[in-house]
Symmetry: C2
Subunit: 206 residues, 2 copies
C-alpha cells in the first residue's frame, strides 16, 4: 500500500502540563534545524485523566511523584535555559487558551501565543484561566483580544476542541506532551529528538 | 558543613521493572567511561506501589500507558542494541533474585548476575520467580546455587531487603530505576546520563 501524502508531525500539548511547557519552548527550533514543520494540537488532559479514573493531576494524587516532577522541572529548565517558577496553583485550567489555539485563524501567531501562555503559567505564576491574563497576551501579539476570545468561545469552536480531545484518546494518548507521527506515539519532552528523527526516517521511506 | 566522604552513586532497581532492564544493561559502561563506580541497590516496587494505592503495576492498571511502554521498550532496546522479547507475564515476581542481590558476598558477581536476571525476564521470557531459573543463572556464573539461595533466604537477609525497600520510600523513590546522588534523585533510564553528570559535578565541588 502506498501513501502519496507525507506524514505530519503532530505536537499534542495541554497548557496545564509542566513538561508541555518545556517541549513547546523547544520544538520549533529543533524541528527547524531538521527541516520539519510542526502541526500544533491543543487538547485537554482532564477527560484523558478521567478515563483513567483520576479527578486531579497524577502529580497531586501521588505526592512523591509530584515532588520529584517539580525538582526535575527545575533541573530541565536550567539545562535548556528556560525561566521557571513553580506555579502557586497546580494544575491551572487551560480551557480558554486551548480554545484559542484551536482557531483556524490562529495559524500565523499560534507558536508565539502557545509559548507566551506556557511562560505565564510556569515562569510568571500567572492565572492562565483568567480572561485578563489571556487578553494581555493576545494584545502583546498585536491581536484584537475581544474578537479572538469571542470566536474561541463559539459553539463550533468549543465542539472542535472536544473532538480534538476525543481524537487524542483514540490515538492512545494518555499524557502530555505527546508527539504523533503516523501511528507511532512519543510521550514526553524526553522523546522530542527521537520523535523528530523518526519523522525524518518515515519521510525518507515514502 | 563539610563532608569528608565522597557521595556515592546509588542505582536503585527492581527485577520486574522494564526500564530497569535497560538502565542495568547500560549503567556500568556509562559509569566507567566517566570514572564513576556504581552502588547497586535492589529493592521491591510492590510496597512502593502499595503506598500509592496500587495493587498491580501501573502499566497494567492504565492500559494505554502499558501499551505505550511496550512499544517504547522495543524502540529503546533497538536503539541501545539490547535483545528484547515482551514477557508472557508481567510483572514477574523478582523477590528471590532481589534477595540474592542483597548478599554481601555477591559483591564480585553482582552486576553480571543482575544483567542475566533482567535478560531472562525481558529478552528470554523466562520466569525469574522460579528457583530453577535463578539456579541456572548462578551456575552459569560458576557459583554454588544451593548455597547462595540458602543464604539469600536467611531471616537476616530477608530483613535486609525489607529495610532497603523502606529506605527507598524514605528517599522519595516512587518508581524504578532511580539513581540517587546525595539528596538528588533521578527517575528512569532517561535520566542515566544526567545523573552521572550530576555525580561528577558533585564530586568536583567537594
Amino acid at each position: 500500500m502506498t501513501r502519496l501524502s507525507n506524514p505530519t508531525l503532530q505536537f499534542w500539548f495541554e497548557f496545564a502540563s509542566p513538561y508541555s511547557y518545556i517541549a513547546a519552548a523547544r520544538i520549533e527550533r529543533e524541528a527547524k534545524v531538521r527541516g520539519v514543520s510542526v502541526d500544533w494540537r491543543p487538547f485537554l488532559l482532564g477527560p484523558i485523566f478521567s478515563a483513567q479514573g483520576w479527578q486531579d493531576s497524577p502529580f497531586n494524587l501521588y505526592p512523591a511523584k509530584g515532588r520529584y516532577m517539580w525538582r526535575d522541572m527545575k533541573r530541565l529548565c536550567d539545562r535548556f535555559g528556560l525561566p521557571f517558577r513553580r506555579p502557586g496553583r497546580f494544575p491551572r485550567n487551560g480551557l480558554l487558551p486551548a480554545r484559542i489555539a484551536c482557531l483556524e485563524a490562529s495559524r500565523h501567531w499560534l507558536p508565539e501565543f502557545v509559548r507566551s501562555v506556557f511562560r505565564a503559567n510556569f515562569a510568571e505564576d500567572r492565572n492562565i484561566s483568567e480572561v485578563e491574563v489571556i487578553s494581555e497576551i493576545l494584545v502583546s501579539l498585536a491581536l484584537d483580544a475581544q474578537s479572538v476570545i469571542s470566536r474561541a468561545n463559539s459553539a463550533e469552536n468549543k465542539e472542535y476542541l472536544r473532538r480534538q480531545t476525543e481524537r487524542a484518546l483514540e490515538l492512545g494518548i494518555f499524557g502530555a506532551p505527546t508527539i504523533v507521527v503516523d501511528h507511532e506515539i512519543f510521550w514526553g519532552n524526553d522523546r522530542l529528538e527521537e520523535a523528530l528523527e523518526f519523522y525524518q526516517s518515515a519521510i525518507k521511506l515514502k
